[in-house]
């Protein structure tokens, strides 16, 4: 089933790209070059074969681990992409750690005292944040904050890789990670809070209370687990979305992640790179979903039993 999905996606990616207008020959040779040269280039690149043949060539290459060389830059596609993947991973990890580390305790506090001061502030606050798109957040942050604080925000590749300088690395990724984290926090907080409140009404929580268990333990050991199902499901979707849609943040802040690469490759009609990225992203999303489905099963075995 999984393979079927991936297969379909590869077909889709391939055909989609090739349906698009945009001619790599034009890009490479420039417009106005002679048709003869174009034809020669086509033959060279294997673009003169019928589409389905091209597809099989591509798939065959992939299965053998060769993503090919970009038409445009001549570089191996893998080389181009491989630098970007760890960046995405790092941003995801940092932002999600931040998001969960804040959402879980705060949701617990709010669920303990619904409609209390903290709860109302957080509800209003998270609601407002929910309504601020990430690009606006970045632009406004840059406007009001970064200019003054000198946090690297613009300029070509302000990103510093982990190997070079880990402090610089964290610095350069801080703004985008925080923006992503806030977006995730808002969603996780609301869902967890509402599920926790529902769970706390259950009789087994009263039973746990009547055993003299502390509030804290009840919250973490008894209430959190049954309330996490929706949270984990959402996390899966959310993180998948970050992978696919994090491009705007990367683009704005010059972080050379997959999203950034995708945009520039589309602009250059660099088919192979685009295809490869689509493939990687799609596979990544599927893996993430599987991972979270797995987690959900651990947390709540009832699901599989049903």
């Amino acid at each position: 089933m999984l393979i079927g999905i991936v297969f379909v996606i590869t077909v889709g990616a391939f055909y989609l790209i090739h349906l698009l207008p945009g001619d790599p020959a034009v890009v490479i040779l420039g417009t106005g070059d002679s048709p003869a040269n174009k034809a020669k280039l086509y033959a060279q690149l294997g673009l003169n074969k019928p589409i389905y043949q091209q597809y099989f060539v591509w798939i065959n290459n992939i299965i053998h681990g060769r993503l090919g060389n970009s038409f445009i830059s001549g570089d191996s596609v893998w080389n181009t992409i491989k630098g970007a993947i760890p960046i995405d991973l790092e941003m995801m990890v940092i932002s999600q750690i931040l998001a969960f580390a804040t959402a879980i305790p705060l949701a617990m506090r709010s669920a303990k005292k619904p409609d209390g001061l903290l709860d109302r502030i957080l509800s209003a606050g998270s609601f407002t944040l929910l309504s601020i798109p990430s690009f606006i957040a970045i632009v406004l942050l840059v406007l009001f904050v970064a200019i003054d604080l000198g946090v690297p925000h613009t300029g070509v590749s302000s990103y510093v890789s982990l190997g070079t300088d880990w402090i610089g690395n964290l610095e350069s990724l801080s703004l985008p990670s925080i923006v992503l984290a806030v977006g995730s926090f808002v969603v996780y907080y609301r869902i967890l809070r509402s599920d926790l409140i529902a769970t706390l009404q259950e009789e087994y929580i009263t039973m746990a209370r009547s055993k003299g268990i502390s509030q804290r333990r009840i919250m973490w050991r008894h209430a959190l687990r049954p309330s996490s199902v929706a949270l984990l499901g959402t996390a899966g979707v959310n993180i998948g979305g970050l992978l696919a849609g994090g491009f705007i943040v990367q683009f704005l802040l010059d972080i050379p992640g997959l999203g950034y690469l995708l945009i520039s490759s589309i602009g250059l009609s660099d088919y192979l790179v685009v295809q490869a990225i689509v493939l990687v992203v799609a596979v990544g999303v599927i893996l993430i979903n599987f991972f979270f489905d797995f987690l959900i099963n651990i947390v709540d075995p009832r699901i599989s039993r049903e």
Binding site: E203, M207, G212, Q215
Partner: protein, 333 residues
Amino acid sequence: MSQSQQLLVVKDLATTFDTPLGPLPAVGGVSFDLNQNETLGIVGESGSGKTVLSRTIMGLQQRRNVTVTGSVLLNGFEVVGASEEEKRKIWGLEVAMIFQDPMTSLNPVMRIGKQIDEILRVRLGMDRKAAKARAIELLELVGIPSPQDRYSVFPGELSGGMRQRVVIATALAGSPKLLMADEPTTGLDVTIQAQILNLLEEIKARMEMSVILVTHDLGVVATRTSRVIVMYAGRIVEMGTTRDVFSHHRMPYTRALLEGSPKVSNPSHTRLKAIPGRPPNLLNLAQGCSFAPRCSFATDRCRQERPELESTGTPGHSFACWNPLPTTRGASA
């Protein structure tokens, strides 16, 4: 009986809810005692306040719209007005509660073994091995076959009767002196009901525990309790030894309750007498005796003045009625 021997002393306990429709006195002025090794039954229809009473005695009310007045002395510890932290000290170790629905009393995503030995590990500081061993012992005690294997199952994998046994095991883990059982068998099959009640009796004897059995089922009360409290509209209307209340009751409501429940001794096809009218609306309690509107013996005084509990003459047996049934004690009393 001297004070020190009494496990539980309840005095003028009243629980009022502050609802959007006005104050609701779910329990109004209840007083009784409980001794060691006693089984006390609290009977009443739905809405009589018996469940609220049981939770108030435990001190489980935590809603912000609840006011509790009076006193509940559990082994010398005053429950009313105590902070949650203080109450936690007695919960599980001195007093434990089991609830009506075993489906919802157990955490569905936690293995039953963990739920049973939690109190041992967290409150009594036992290490994992010892706690597990004790939990398995408890499982055996409540009659669960192959307890070692069952230790790691989830509640969903057990039948209703088994689940209730697990709930009982969980409650017993801390060796409480008082077990509050709120309709423990109502959700179960009739055949299982008897098993569970037998189990409770066994355990009570073995662990020298007192039990408060809250139920609407008179059949349960008749055979399993030594003393009974009859509740109506949040108050005690009759109380005494089970025998006294069943055979020598004075309050017409008690009679009506008894007549309304099926008895094996009745000839077949006996019609059960339903009590006419409906239970009172606690928000709008009328003056006088709450049962008066439905009572065939009600007098004017009944409708105007609320009767207090008075003794029948037999120690421990009291009732609240202006126009009680004539005593059925003959010269033998």
